[in-house]
């Protein structure tokens, strides 16, 4: 069974996403909404990460060789600056959050097939929160894009 591989990927991706939100929060502290919300969302990701623990325990950790390299989620590199930098950083986080979102979705399907009620409940909650992360990132990027791309220096 390869579900442990995906659970491991998901847990790791949540950790990286949390870290990336935190980087954005601190790197763009002059944008108060980005700053405070990214911290809040980072906490949600960490909560997801921790909530996955008992599930991972239950299904067992994946073996190293089962986890192909390209399934690792990449975090943000360096924080960029300026309006376009903010846009680009949010876009990177958006990509990462998309990976998390779709992984939850896939894990959820496996959980249904396994009739794993505990996992299903967790997926329902975390998938919804991750979708909201995406919605927020999209809202914030759409708001800022014209100004960054047309009017900013």
């Amino acid at each position: 069974m390869k579900l442990p591989v995906y659970l491991g990927l998901l847990r790791e991706a949540e950790r990286v996403l949390a870290e990336s939100f935190r980087q954005v929060a601190d790197g763009h502290a002059a944008e108060p909404d980005v700053h405070f919300l990214s911290h809040t969302l980072a906490q949600q990701c960490l909560a997801h990460y921790e909530a996955l623990d008992p599930i991972v325990q239950r299904y067992g950790e994946a073996r190293q060789e089962d986890e192909p390299e390209r399934l690792h989620a990449e975090g943000l590199g360096r924080i960029r600056s300026g309006p376009v930098g903010l846009l680009r950083d949010l876009q990177d986080v958006y990509m990462l959050a998309s990976v998390v979102e779709i992984t939850w979705k896939l894990v959820g399907q496996a959980a249904e097939a396994l009739r794993d009620r505990e996992l299903l409940e967790l997926v329902a909650r975390c998938h919804k929160e991750t979708s909201t992360h995406l919605d927020w990132l999209k809202t914030r990027m759409e708001q800022t894009a014209p100004q960054a791309l047309i009017a900013a220096q």
């Binding site: 002059a30 909404d33 919300l37 809040t40 919605d135 999209k138 100004q147 009017a151």
Partner: protein
Amino acid sequence: MIDRIAEVWGTRTPYEQDQRWPVRVDQKLAEGVGDDDVDRWVQSACVLCSNGCGCDIAVKDGRMVGVRGRATDIVNHGRLGPKGLFGSWQGVDNKDRLTRPLVRENGRLVATDWDTAMQRVVDNSRRLLQEKGPLSHGFYTSGQLFLEEYYTLSVVGKAGIRTPHMDGNTRLCTATAAASMKESFGSDGQPGSYVDIDECDAIFLYGHNMAETQTVLWMRVLDRLAGQNPPKVVCVDPRETEVARHADVHLPVRNGTNQALMNGLVREVIVNGWMDEDYVAAHTLHFDELRDVVEPWTPERVAEVCGVDADDVRRTAEIFGTTERVLSTVLQGFYQSHQATAASCNVNNLHLLRGLLGRPGCGILQMNGQPTAQNTRETGADGDLPGFRNWGNTDHVAELARVWNVDPLDIPSWAPPTHAMQIFRYAEQGSINFLWVQATNPAVSLPELARIRELLHREELFLVVQDLYLTETAQLADVVLPAAAWGEKTGTFTNVNRTVHLSDKAVEPPGEARSDLDIFLDYAHRMDFRDRDGNPLVPWSDPEGAFHAWRECTRGRPCDYTGLSYERFRGGSGIPWPCNDEHPDGTVRLYEDGVFPTDPDYCETYGHDLVTGAVVGEQAYRAMNPAGRALLKAAPYQPPHEEPDEDYPLRYTSGRTVYHWHTRTKTGRAEPLDRAAPQAWVELAEEDAERLGVIEGDIVRVASRRGEIVVAARIGRGRQGVVFAPFHYGYWDTDGVGPGEHPRSANELTITEWDPVSKQPVYKVAAVRVDKVATGDGPAPAPTTAASRPARPGTVRPTVGGSEAMADERIAPVEPPAVATREEHP
């Protein structure tokens, strides 16, 4: 005659439930002017708060010499509060008024003529449009102009310049009222009416110091409390306000914890079975989600987080849950606090759960702060689309384009409108280079003032300020345009409960000052804005023409004005919208039938996630199939972002005093008001003061991570650990633009942060520390009549007004006006 500084709310005229509130006509004339000396009385309504009291302006020899309440008006039944009595006309008829345009030359503002000043505005507009396009332009307006002016501005900004960067200081005062109604009901529009005070069994005031912010509305409550069958009163406020003193239950929550309390109250109503299940099933959506979110919030947990008594939480919920007719009002304690929209939506949720809407005595008043804020929202001068249209709905944009005869692409609707704090951020970053500020004073009223002053000062920002006086902000401007004031121009405006009033011109403006409408029209003319047929984009040339255009714009929308006209306003009372063929006399309450404007083709918004502000897209919204049902919006409680710690151990909040309005540009120039509250102060709770070794009147330094103020301390009755400062005091009457040696403005300390949905700044949650710097030479200059009264009465001389504050009261000279419409009394 009665001293209306000492007797803020005047003489009681008790009345019983379901009776009409008796008339009391309040009047103030200038020293030496008698009734017979008045040449004319000119119909108007007061613009010193959102209550919208109908009044007449006394004119003698071409000057305003006084004011009296209109007995026939459904809002105030003749009454006026201290600000209306003294501030309205004295704050305008003043030697300090700007009488000529000013332009900056070699760093100094010098007087010039209109041609020169406007040409400079137009040249800069043209240059920037060419260099960078519309996104270089921002407009920051007010909640104190007239409807006709906002609508003209809205057309000029959206279809003339085509910028999405339009907002008003309404962002600081009523944005959450609008946001919470949009989220819950699908559109802005006040469900309730002031008449509900006459009819309710209980009134809940959430973060609403009504006694000081809307004195006349509070008189109505006081008169009910003095009569038979008084309503129960519940007050949520960290301070011991007048409202709290009259309350059956006072919940002095820690500032920043409103959402915890509200989740707890919603939970109690659910678990105790006080819901109207049929109503919830037929008229709402998302009940399960709400129930799950509030589930953890037992009274004990609320008590712990909010710092109140669990039994008081239970009692509060029980009053709400078991009283037949409940009226709720909400204001800045919720709107300017952490989780503003979420907490305000929870007030709507409580009413929806019990079906307490659209019936006599069962209302919600999501209050406004400013007199004409409703119109800023309706016309889209705050960035929204006019007529409560939905920027996410392409049909709405197309409809608006038809009304204006422009290409739909000309109307910026690709993203949510830019809110004020973001506009200032863009200015700070140098991507907005043209900022036009009207009738508001951001250099004193925005959070974190050091930052605001710095960004307004920037070389690359061309700042236009249009105002009555040389405010702190105006002193930083490149061009200052002298505006005509209330009483010097004609126009309409709409108060909290949708009542529209006409305010006629009584006197000529001083010097060369012009109405805001004329200034916008002049700009549109000089910029040569055209519609798609090459005709002038703004075809009207006077207030009534603008009003007619606006009426057309509202046709078929929730705020339908099509049945209203200047003619109808003259002589009678204000009239509440919607007023159209279906409701020819206006509408007292909305949603009597439980049908809400949530239909996807009709709604003003598809809504937001309350925690993040993420937009709910059209698709997701349609999939919910709201079909006229209201939305029970939920959000978990989150602690505020700046909580007290070792360095800054106290909670800070700011607010109003009864004698002043905003940054005192008017009230600071009305003698009786100015003398009642001449100087800034800060309020400490007795326990805190004792610990700090501070006694009444001592000079203290209050510092936050952003700045400090040094002012006299009033030892008051506030919640332990909470420090309060009035936000009215800037520097125009001390050092000019900024603090110099004497920092006193409450916003030196506030944090730059806003609610994720309404984008309203958080003025009521921050952490500070307090140190004594000097011994005082007498009590603090804080009034003793309301929330800032001293903890120990008798230690401070009571606030009185003296001869200049004497005003007339005529009790019950006529029968009270009936409610506005025949619907109510056929």
